[in-house]
Subunit: 340 residues, 4 copies
C-alpha cells in the first residue's frame, strides 16, 4: 500500500464525482486521501460517506499542504483551474486537470510556465481521446493502415441545448462545446492547426442567438501538414448524442459510427428498427473517464509525460479563439492572428 499514489481531488460536481468513483473503484494504483469542494453540504457528505471518501473538506489548500499527497485531480469550475494548477505545481504535486486550463491565453501561458518551472507533470482531461472508438481510430492511423491523414471529419452534436443561463456564461459554443472537437481533430491529424474558417447560425433556439451565441456550427481547419479538418456541431440532435469521427488517408479510411445500446434489430411490416443511440455524454463516455485516469497514473508510474498535456490545452483554446474571430469577421483566420 505504501507504493500507491496518494491523491487529492478538487471539485465533487458531476465530473468530479466520476473521477472520485473511478479513483476509489477502478484505479488500483492510487489511494484517495482528500476531496475538497467549496460546496461542502450534507448531501455531499452523505455521498462521500457512502462511497468511502476518507476525508472531505471545503478547503482545497489542505490538499496542497499535505506532504503525503502525490497527485491532484482538478475538477472544479473552469475559472479556478489555472489557480489550482499553479498552486499544485508550486506544491510539487502531479496534476490532472479538467479542460480547459483557462480561456485567457495569457493566463494559460503563465500557468504552463509555472508547471514547467516546477517540473511537475500536467495532463488535461480530454477524455474522448480515451474513448474505445476514437482511440481505435488513432491506433489505426498510427499503425499506418490508412497512410497519411488527409481529411479529418468530426460530427459532434448534443442531444439538447444547455439552459440559456449557462449559454450566457459559457464563452460561446466554440470554447464550450467544440473544444472537444478541436482537440479530437488535432489528435487524429497529428499536426497543429494553421488556419480556420468557422461559421454557423441560430437554427434551434432564438434565445441562444439573443445570448450572443450560435447553436449550429461548421468549421474547416487547415493543418500544418496539409490535412483538412471538417467539424459540424449542433446543440440539438433530437435522436441522441451524435458522436462520430472519420479520418481519410492516402491508403484508406477509418471511421467510427455511434455506439448503440444493443445489437438488436426488429423487423416488422413497417421497417427494420434499431434502438436509439445513448442520450448524453455521461452514458457515452463513461468508460473513457476511467481510462484517462488509469493512463495518467500509469504515466506517473513509468515516469512518462502524459498526453494530452498543457500544450494541447493551449492549442485547443487557440483554435477556439480563432474560430470565434472567424465567425465574427466571416473570414478564415490564421492562428498567428490570435496567438500574439
Amino acid at each position: 500500500m505504501s507504493n500507491k499514489f496518494i491523491v487529492g481531488v478538487i471539485g465533487a460536481g458531476r465530473i468530479g464525482k466520476i473521477h472520485i468513483e473511478n479513483l476509489l473503484r477502478n484505479i488500483p494504483e492510487v489511494k484517495l486521501k482528500i476531496v475538497a469542494d467549496i460546496k461542502l453540504d450534507n448531501q455531499l457528505k452523505q455521498w462521500g460517506s457512502e462511497i468511502g471518501i476518507p476525508y472531505l473538506t471545503a478547503n482545497a489548500s489542505e490538499i496542497f499542504t499535505d506532504p503525503e499527497i502525490d497527485a491532484v485531480v482538478i475538477a472544479s469550475s473552469t475559472d479556478t483551474h489555472a489557480d489550482f494548477i499553479q498552486k499544485a505545481a508550486k506544491a510539487k504535486k502531479q496534476i490532472f486537470c479538467e479542460k480547459p486550463i483557462d480561456t485567457d491565453l495569457k493566463r494559460i501561458k503563465e500557468t504552463l510556465s509555472i508547471v514547467k518551472e516546477e517540473d511537475v507533470r500536467l495532463m488535461v482531461g480530454f477524455n474522448r481521446r480515451f474513448d474505445h472508438n476514437f482511440k481505435r481510430i488513432h491506433d489505426a492511423i498510427v499503425s499506418g493502415r490508412i497512410g497519411t491523414p488527409q481529411i479529418i471529419k468530426i460530427t459532434s452534436r448534443d442531444p439538447s441545448p444547455p439552459p440559456i443561463e449557462y449559454v450566457k456564461v459559457s464563452g460561446g459554443i466554440f470554447i464550450d462545446m467544440t473544444i472537444h472537437d478541436w482537440d479530437m481533430a488535432r489528435y487524429q491529424a497529428g499536426s497543429e492547426v494553421e488556419e480556420i474558417y468557422a461559421t454557423g447560425g441560430v437554427l434551434i433556439d432564438p434565445e441562444i442567438g439573443k445570448a450572443g451565441d450560435i447553436d449550429t456550427a461548421a468549421a474547416i481547419l487547415k493543418f500544418r501538414n496539409g490535412a483538412i479538418g471538417i467539424i459540424d456541431n449542433s446543440r440539438q440532435a433530437v435522436y441522441g448524442y451524435d458522436q462520430r469521427v472519420e479520418v481519410f488517408g492516402s491508403e484508406g479510411c477509418v471511421l467510427a459510427e455511434n455506439d448503440t445500446p444493443n445489437t438488436v434489430r426488429i423487423y416488422t411490416t413497417q421497417n427494420t428498427s434499431i434502438d436509439k443511440i445513448p442520450f448524453f455524454f455521461l452514458e457515452r463516455y463513461m468508460e473513457s473517464y476511467a481510462a484517462e485516469l488509469q493512463y495518467f497514473f500509469n504515466c506517473l508510474q513509468n515516469n512518462q509525460n502524459p498526453s494530452p498535456n498543457g500544450e494541447d490545452g493551449l492549442q485547443d483554446v487557440l483554435v477556439a479563439l480563432a474560430a470565434k474571430k472567424s465567425l465574427k469577421e466571416n473570414r478564415p483566420i490564421n492562428l498567428s492572428e490570435v496567438d500574439k
Copy 2:
C-alpha cells in the same frame, strides 16, 4: 445502513469473484459480510483484503449460522449446489445459486421441495437473461412487437474447447455448455419444451470424442405452444465468442448480432474490416452478472419471486438429459421420457 441486505458468498472462484466485486461495488442495497471458500489460501486472502472483503472463512456453515445474514450467493462447484441450497433454505436465507442446481433430477426435485417448505426465495444464475441484447429481445416479444414467437434460433459457440480433463467430468456438452441455450430458448419462447431432437459430431478434436463427448451440436426443440427452437453449438469458433439469438414471430422478427469491441470500420484497398468480436464470456457477459444480482436484490426488496427460479433450473436440466438421450439413440425424445 441497517436496512441493507446482509450477504454471504460461498465460493470465490472465477464466477464467485465477479459476484463479490459486484456486491462490493455495484449493488448499493447490500452489505457483504462473509465470503466462504474451501481453498482459503494466501492468494485469496490478499485479494480479499485488497478488494475489501470484511471476513473470509473456509467454512460455509458460518454463513448459515450467522443470524444477521439475509441472503446467500452460492458460486461453489456444481456438486455442492444442492447441499448448500438446502442448508441455506433451512437457515431461512434467501438464495442466489449458480447454474445448474444439480445434474441429478431426483436431487434437484428434493432440493426444490425443501426450498418450498422453508418458503425462501431461490434464483438460479442464468445471467444471459440479463444481457443487454437478449433482454431487449425478450422485451420486444413481451411488448407484442413480433406477435407470437414461432421460431427461436440460438447460435452459441465458444472460442476454444476446455481442457480434456474438464470435458471428461463436464457431464457432456448438452449439460455443460448448451444448458445456457436451453434456458435462453425457454426464456424467449415463453413455453416449456415438449420434445427434442439433438445430434452432433466430433469435428474439432478427436480427444473430445474419446472422452465420450461431442464438440459440435445441433438441436431442434418443439415447445408446448407450437414454437420451434433451433440451437447450434461449437466448442471452437476461432473468430471469437459467437453469441446470437433470433426470434421469428407472426408479426415480425427480432434478432441480436454479436457485440463488437468498437464501431470502427477500416476501408483499405483490400476490404473493409471490423475488429473481432469479444473473446469469451467474462468479457461478453460481464455486465449481465451485475444486472442479475441487482435484479435479485430488487426482488427481495419488493418481496417478489425472482426469475429464473428453481423450476427453470429443473426444466433446463430436463431438456439437457433429453438431448443426451436423443443424441445416444438418434431419435426425438419427448421430455416425459426423462421426467419420470
Copy 3:
C-alpha cells in the same frame, strides 16, 4: 452472328418470361429463335411482339425438330420437365431445365440415363447458386478463408403463403419450397446428405394443415463429410423475403445478411429505421437468373459440364423425399432409405 447459340425456350410463364428477356437482352452469345408455350393467347403474342421474340408457337416439338436449334431452355410446368428433357436430349440439344427435373425418383433416373446416353449437357436451374451473396459465400469457402465447413445454416422464409389450391398440388413444403435450400446446403457443404431429421408445424394457416402440409419447418442434415446443416422455413415472414446463409468452418465463419433496397438510415426520437427487405423472389433473385443463363452458355462455349447438373437435381429430390418421410415418421431418415 453465325457462331451464336441458337436457342428455343419452352414455357413463357413467370420464370419463362425472365429467361426470354435475359436471352434477348443480356446474353450476347445467343440468338433466341423459337418460344413454345401451350397457352399461346393474344396477350402472350403481344408481349412477344413487343419484346422481339422472332417466332412463337404452341408446339414445343418445333424446337426439337429444328436442326438449327443448339440449346433448349425448359421453363414449362414441372410435370412436363422430364418429358421435354428426354425429347431435347434425343434431338441432341443442350438443355437448361428449371428445377425440379421431376418429383418421382424413377422418372428422374430414367431421364438422366437418357441424357447420358445422348451425351448432351444438362443444367438444372438452381438460380440461387448464382446469387451475388451466396456465390460470394461459396467463393470464400473454396478459397479456404474459413477452413473446413462444419455448420451450414440457412434461413429461408417466404413473405406470404401461396394459395391453398397451389399448396394442395405442390408436393409439400419440402419439395416445393425447401428444395432450394437442400440445394444451397449441398452447394455450400461441398458434400452429399447422409441423414436428415425434418419437422415442423402448422403455425400460420390451419387450411395449410388441412391440405396435408405444414407451413413452418426445421431440419437438421448430416453430410457425408461430417458437416451439419440446419434449415428453417416459414411460409409467412411478414417483414419480407428472408434469405440468409451462414457457413461456419474450422478457420472462420462467412454469412450473408438480407439485401436491403437502399443503405439509408433514419434517426428519429423513436429509433433508427431501415427500409424493409425486398418483398419476393423476383425482386431478390432477378440478377441470378441472368447470371445462371450466362454461365450455362459460357459452359457450352468452353465445352464444360455445367453445375448444378442432373445429379444435383436428383440429390435435392432425394433429400426432399427423406425430409417428408422424416416428418411423417418423426425420426431421422438415412438417405439410403428413400433411394432404393
Copy 4:
C-alpha cells in the same frame, strides 16, 4: 407504337452509350430513331448494329431537321451542349442534356432564354438525384420525417484522379467533379446557396497542382433558408468510390452509407471483413441513368416540367464559380459576387 416518343441521341461516348442502351431496352415509352456522333468510326458502327440502333450519322442536324423526332438526348462534349440545346429548342424538340449546360454564365443564360422562348422542356442530367439512396433521403425529408434540414453533409471521393491532360481542360475540381455535389446539396437542402467558403489542397499528385488545380477539397455552404452545407472531395479514395450523403434536421437525421457489392461478412481470427465498395460511377450509378431518363419521359407524357431543369443547371454553375473564387481569394463568397 405511334404514341411512343421518337428520340434522337447526340453523342455516343461513355455516357451516351448508357443512354442509348437504356432507350433501347428499359424505356418502353420511346423509340430511338437516330444517333449522331461526330466520331462515326467502324467500332461505333459495329456496336450500333449489334445493339440495334436504327440509324447512325455523324451529323447532329439530321436530328433537328427530322420532323418525326420528339425529343433529343444530348450527351456530346460539354462545349457543344449550349449550341445543341439552342438548336434543339428552335426545332421544338424536348431536351434532355448532360451536365453542365456550359461553364460560361452568359452562355447558360442566353441558352435558357431561348429554351423559354421556344417553350420546350429541358432537363439537365444530374443523375444522382435518381440514385436509390439519395432519392430515398429526399423522400424522407419531403415526408417530414426529419423536420427542417439544418446540416447537409456530402462525402464524394473518386477512386483515382483523371489523367493530367483531362485535369488541364476540366475547368477545375469545383466545376468538373464537385458540380454533382453542389446539385445534391441544393436538392437535399430545398433552398438556394447564398454564400460559400471553399478551400483545399494538393495532397495526392503534385502534377495536379502544376496544372493549376487541387485534388482535395472542402466547402461550407450557407443556404437562404439558414441550412449549412458541408462537402468534402478527394480525387483518390484508394478503397473505392465513396459516395455518402447525410441530412440533419430539427426532428432527426437521415443518411446513406455506401453501397456494397454483397452483404457477406467473413469472420476470421484476424477480423471481420466486408468486400470493397464499388469501384466507380458506372457501377455505382448505373441504375440512376435509367431512372432519370424514365422520369424525363414520364414528365413529357404527363405534360410536366422535369427537375432538375435549366435553372438548376445554372445555379450549380454559379456555386462552382463562387467556389473557385473563394479558393483563389481565401474568403467566403456571396453568390451575388459571381452572378452579375
